[in-house]
């Protein structure tokens, strides 16, 4: 275990998020069992009011999850000095590979929370709360994921062993060979460049097609394809950041770290880069996730309007992301090819 202030903050934060999540699960169970919109009893009124509490808590949980994602990456970066051979966050994560699972879990939870909030949003727009049961079942399913992530995170930090000088001899020799790899293997620059721009073009084309589609026409499949494609685009983008965006920003052909761009020496460019990517993908996926609920009469128009709004935001963010990713390729002095 490493007694580091960042580690302690993350563990305490997880604990608080976990308590909040399970508190809302308890409320969710109560709501699912007792919910009956047709009644106007005191109990139903209380349940309706409790939905506000759950919504508020979930908003905070999501906010905390975003912060903890960044704090986790930051902390992993800060503790890399403790491991032989580690040069940045990548090395710290390799020092106990469950760290990667924690990182993925944090990203997944971020998206799951965002989807919940999207569903919640369209549900609140309707008079009769048609999605109450669904969204609280979703919430109950989400809680174990948050618990798992908290457990992994604890496991990761507990499992870290700093390579420090022991009293008998230098640790280097007791630990021979156990140094951590400090870089990620990456895809070749040339092909990934094409794949990235192709995927980006498809993503934007799909979203634009959805915007141009006239209201009322049946085209749910396009929405689903675009949602699924957003996920593919997300994966491709992360791979591309590791493969070539990073090296153009670092201006060195061997440094593929996806975390260093969040640092000061690269002007914090990682924040707008990841922010626009996460945001763009999130809004596009949210628009797809609420599609099935168009069956319900009372929220069809609301969903349609929300989808159009989210699609527009998504297009703007994804274009921003592509511009930020392309910027150094055009304007930096570094050339990956002779």
């Amino acid at each position: 275990m490493i007694f580091h202030t960042g580690v302690l903050a993350l563990v305490v934060g997880s604990l608080i998020v976990l308590i909040m999540a399970f508190f809302s699960v308890a409320l969710a169970l109560k709501i699912i069992i007792g919910w009956d919109i047709t009644k106007s009893t005191a109990k139903q009124l209380l349940l309706e009011r409790q939905t506000y509490l759950v919504t508020t808590i979930m908003k905070y949980v999501m906010g905390f999850q975003i912060l903890s994602l960044f704090l986790f990456v930051y902390t992993a970066d800060d503790i890399h000095k403790l491991f032989v051979g580690a040069m940045c966050a990548t090395g710290s994560l390799n020092a106990n590979p469950i760290g990667w699972s924690v990182l993925f879990a944090k990203i997944v939870i971020f998206f799951l929370c965002a989807m919940w909030l999207a569903i919640n949003r369209v549900d609140e727009l309707a008079e009769d709360y048609p999605l109450v049961r669904f969204k609280y079942k979703y919430l109950i399913a989400l809680a174990p994921v948050i618990a798992l992530e908290a457990y992994w995170q604890l496991d990761y930090f507990l499992g870290l062993r700093a390579n420090v000088i022991t009293s008998c001899c230098s640790s280097l020799f007791s630990d021979e060979g156990a140094t951590v790899a400090s870089s990620l293997s990456s895809l070749p620059v040339g092909p990934s460049l094409y794949v990235f721009y192709a995927a980006g073009a498809v993503e934007i084309a799909l979203l634009s097609a959805l915007l141009m589609r006239r209201a009322g026409r049946n085209g749910a499949w396009l929405r689903y394809i675009s949602g699924a494609w957003s996920f593919i685009f997300f994966v491709v983008s992360i791979a591309s950041i590791i493969s070539f965006v990073s090296i153009y920003y670092y201006e060195t052909p061997v440094h593929h770290c996806p975390f260093d761009i969040l640092q000061k020496q690269y002007m914090f460019i990682g924040y707008p880069l990841y922010g626009s990517l996460f945001g763009g993908v999130l809004f596009s996926m949210a628009a797809a996730v609420v599609e099935p609920f168009k069956k319900i009469d009372s929220i069809r128009t609301e969903i349609h309007n929300a989808q159009r709004r989210w699609t527009k935001i998504s297009i703007v963010l994804i274009i921003m992301f592509i511009i930020i990713a392309t910027w150094p390729i055009i304007f930096s002095n570094f050339r990956a090819y002779g």
Binding site: F3, H4, V12, L67, S68, V164, C169, S170
Partner: protein, 384 residues
Amino acid sequence: MKGNGRIIEYALSTLARRKFKNFSVAAVFSVLIAVLSSILFLTHAYKTETLKLLDNSPAIILQNMSGGRHELIPTEYIKTLSGIAGVGQIAPRYWGYYYDSLTSANYTLMAVDEGMQDVKLIEGRMPQTDTECAVGRGVADLRQAGLKDDFFLITGAEQSVNLKIVGIFTANSAILTNDLVVMTKDGLVKFFNMPADRATDITIEVNNPAEVSMVARKIRHAFPNSRPILKSELIRTYDNIFNWRGGIVLTMFFGAIAAFMIFVWDKATGINAQERQEIGILKAIGWETSDVLTLKFWEGAVVAICSFFTGLILAYVHVFYFNAQFLAPVLKGWSVLFPRFEPMPYIDIYQIFVLFFLTVVPYVAAGVVPSWKAAISDPDVVMR
């Protein structure tokens, strides 16, 4: 849905109306943040300072071990060491500790070496004969001695050695030199009664940084009783020590964080009839529950942001103007002759981030349920 700007405006006016209650929360919160951020700032300052010092330390320090303890090292090792490929400059170091019963303090006695001549931190000069010495500012103050004064040390045989102070290290180098007494090599060897062919340890430079661990391995192969200490290991170890110290002190304050959460919960729960009536009226004139929740959010946010910055400023003043007088003894470690260490003012975004997570997250979490309870009050009930 009201505009957020209007809600913030209203939130500010409600906060102002209940000055005492909000002020007490903000005051307690600020103190908590100040304490926690002092810990973070100070740990960070020590860490940076130490790491900066270690930057100048040699690539490898070679110690001799006997019976699992550090022992004097034969200087003849140097001949073998210089045969190892990739090894740069090699130098024996002569130093030791001296307990001064007069002032109840430990001094570090060190022989002057080549590298030290570059250190332009001295008033006076370095010792040249066996009866001269240069001392750190802390030692000079403790002995109330100045330049050209006599300085005596007692050897093991109860005989005193009289030295003349020819140099005093300036205060800027205090962390390095505060408890230092620099003598000539012969003077030191005689004082400690060291065998002529032994040194305390040997420093080794390595020309190519990538070869350091290889060189260390070869040294260990040649001298199985030796312990090569690499610079990178020293850095790692110090980093870990300061993390650990900061972490432990922080952990001690978790009780305080929990107490603060209960305090916030309590304050937020105990809304009086007047407040309840106010919310009732708001709802009667058309505010929805979600608007009241937004209002409560902004009230909390204003208190949190004000306290956060007040706390940060308090901590900054405490650590960087008053040298962290409340915390320094815990974090610095144990020694009688502490250097007067003035931490470099430096704030890292990472620290702010950690601090935010440690303080604002618990604060917000503690306030959620009470503010919801307030937000659902019925207009007809409260106005009846």
